[in-house]
């Protein structure tokens, strides 16, 4: 079990992701935008951050930029994007080790990713270079 923070402005998708990850046995917290997520992270860091990109106010990228250097995400980040922005977002996130999943995301792939992030070796903190080759749909 690991701590997962899900950030998504669409309440239905948020609920769905959080329900899905809870079923896999994770301890899930929810936020509707980047700012709310930041507050939760200030209170307690998370193992995995699952975040949407396009959100009102603070978007997913701003959240990542703020949270990563603070060490508030301890194992890894999964970014959900729509298919049209997918390539561009992946390029913008190229400098960090994040996984990018296009929407509609595959639930199986999401839980696989969260699982692999939390069971990976201790050296694989976000931002570091990871030895395992990323799958084509993911980032760098």
């Amino acid at each position: 079990m690991s701590r997962v923070l899900v950030v998504e402005d669409d309440p239905h998708i948020l609920r769905l992701i959080s329900m899905w990850l809870k079923r896999q046995g994770h301890d899930v917290r929810e936020a509707r935008n980047g700012l709310a997520a930041r507050e939760l992270l200030n209170a307690e860091p998370t193992d995995v951050l699952v975040t949407d990109v396009n959100m009102p106010g603070w978007d997913g990228l701003a959240l990542i930029e703020a949270a990563l250097p603070m060490g508030q995400v301890q194992r890894g980040i999964v970014v959900l994007t729509n298919r049209w922005d997918h390539g561009e977002i992946r390029d913008r996130l190229a400098q960090w080790h994040v996984h990018v999943l296009p929407k509609p995301f595959s639930p199986a792939r999401l839980s696989e990713l969260v699982e692999s992030l939390t069971t990976a070796g201790a050296g694989d903190s976000p931002g570091s270079v990871v030895a395992s080759a990323p799958r084509p749909e993911e980032g760098v």
């Binding site: 769905l16 079923r23 595959s106 639930p107 792939r109």
Partner: protein
């Protein structure tokens, strides 16, 4: 009791219940809701309410009593629990819920317990009032449970749809990058296997035989799945039925289910695709059937188009070669001239940095440039010795004739330029139009150089072949006059490199050159 009797604020109650029940699949679970207080506290305040869920109403009631006892720091004699009521001022009710057990709601009023004596004043009315609340709460619990269960079902469906949508998006994206019918077939059937949660799918080909495609990550490709559908005899009648009706069927065989559907290919050939599902994975649903139907229809269309495209491409090549063969039949001295012309034109175009698609067109121009010779009388075309002025004027008709022959084929475009102008010279002394320099289309300039070279190195009715080096020399001398200089240089480079780097291919394609070189080498 009436004064402190809790009046349930429904929103708070619901919110708390939802918190506790959000994983209804793991019932029985226990949760606590506190009425009249905005936050959870481990020690219940004056009014407290507890919701228990469980499979067995007795056990639920008993757990509720324990809770009340703890909350009130007061031991309750469980045998006193009768008729859903706890005697010492507590109201208890247990109801069956749709979550597969009973829900019970307990309300305690701590102040009355703390002093150890149950105050009985005004009891009858208050108690029924209290029980009324309890009843309402219990019904709410039940309803919330039902809603959560429905939600969970919806969520499952949405999650499954996401999974399928994702696979379909991926499939369409990947198929767009594949141009080979077999590769598309493989991609499609692997995805069908994954979507159905099958280890593998089997395709019974209309041409006989079958192929097996693995599910997740393509594992199991070519390996027969548990249900050995490589032996098609037991399902022959099913195959026949699907070929006839072209509809998806679910079939029971040996206690296992098979889903089967048609993959319609070119010429209305129907392959039949089978998938089975391991025991314990549930039966195939109508959703699965629709999925198989639409994916196979979509995939079949793409495979058919790809096969059709491939067939047309091959056919146009064959027609071109047939036309080329017709030229060579007419003038056997030029046998192989067209083939070599096509090859060398492409080689030179490549050297000049012409885009790949245009190289193909230019190769065709090289192949077809002399097709107009079909219209030239044989006695002139194959005349040994020098041609008269009149005869030469007839020969000069062949580019125009070739153009007229090919003009009805709209798609040939640039090829026509190559055919019509391949005897135009940079100094304007060529025919049929006397174009000069850059007026002559590139394709025609290339074909002209190649044509000249091949003519010089071939034996003709009226003379022996020149040696390769001599032919190159002649062309070099004509550079800028009757031969385009830039194209000639590219031709020299391309030809020399080809001869040096691929001697085997060169020897096979130009056997006459090798022989003439040997002859030349002799003193």
């Amino acid at each position: 009791m009436s004064a402190r009797c809790p009046s349930a604020p429904d929103d708070l109650l619901l919110r708390d219940l939802v918190c506790g029940l959000s994983t209804p699949r793991r019932a029985p679970t226990v949760s606590v809701g506190v009425l009249g207080s905005p936050d959870h506290t481990p020690q219940p305040p004056a009014h407290c309410l507890r919701v228990c869920l469980g499979a067995d109403p007795q056990a639920v009631a008993s757990r509720g009593c324990q809770f009340l006892a703890t909350a009130a720091r007061h031991e309750i004699d469980r045998t006193q629990l009768q008729d859903g009521r706890c005697p010492q001022g507590f109201a208890v009710t247990a109801r069956p819920t749709r979550l597969g057990g009973a829900g019970a709601v307990f309300v305690s009023v701590e102040g009355e317990i703390a002093d150890g004596t149950a105050q009985k004043q005004g009891h009858a009315a208050d108690e029924s009032n209290l029980l009324g609340h309890v009843d309402t709460a219990a019904r709410l619990v039940q309803r919330v449970g039902e809603i959560l269960e429905e939600n969970s079902g919806f969520a499952d469906e949405v999650l499954q749809n996401y999974e399928q949508l994702n696979l379909i998006f991926d499939l369409t994206q990947q198929i767009a990058q594949v141009t080979d019918a077999r590769a598309i077939e493989k991609l499609l059937l692997q995805r069908v296997a994954r979507l159905l949660g099958s280890a593998a799918v089997t395709l019974a080909s209309a041409d006989g035989g079958c192929r097996v495609f693995g599910g997740a990550d393509g594992r199991g490709d070519g390996v027969a799945p548990d249900l050995p559908l490589t032996d098609l005899r037991p399902v022959e009648s099913l195959i026949d039925e699907i070929r006839r009706t072209r509809q998806v069927r679910v079939h029971e065989a040996g206690g296992r289910q098979i889903i089967a559907g048609p993959l319609v290919r070119l010429d209305e050939k129907v392959d039949v695709v089978f998938a089975d599902r391991a025991p314990g994975h549930g039966a195939f649903s109508s959703g699965d059937m629709m999925l198989v139907e639409s994916m196979l229809a979509f995939g079949g269309q793409i495979i058919t188009n790809t096969e059709l495209h491939e067939r047309l491409r091959r056919m146009s090549l064959e027609v071109t070669h047939a036309m080329v063969a017709a030229i060579d039949k007419k003038d056997h001295y030029t046998s192989g001239h067209s083939q070599r012309g096509g090859f060398l034109t492409r080689l030179t175009a490549q050297e000049l940095g012409v885009p790949l698609a245009e190289q193909q067109t230019m190769e065709w121009a090289g192949l077809l440039h002399d097709i107009g010779k079909i219209g030239i009388p044989e006695e002139i075309l194959c005349k040994p010795g020098k041609l008269t002025h009149e005869e030469f004027e007839v020969i000069k008709q062949h580019p125009r004739m070739g153009y007229e022959i090919l003009k009805p084929i709209a798609s040939l475009g640039v090829v026509l330029d190559g055919v019509l102008y391949h005897h135009e010279y940079p100094d304007g002394s060529g025919y049929p139009e006397g174009l000069k320099g850059d007026q002559i289309p590139l394709v025609a300039r290339i074909v002209h150089v190649v044509d000249t070279f091949d003519a010089l190195t071939s034996t003709r009715a009226y003379r022996q072949a020149f040696h390769v080096e001599r032919a190159l020399e002649i062309i070099r001398d004509e550079k800028g006059v009757r031969i385009d200089a830039e194209v000639a240089d590219a031709f020299f480079r391309a030809f020399e490199r080809y001869r040096r780097e691929e001697p085997g291919d060169f020897a096979a394609r130009f056997p006459a050159f090798i022989q003439s070189e040997k002859a030349h080498a002799k003193p």
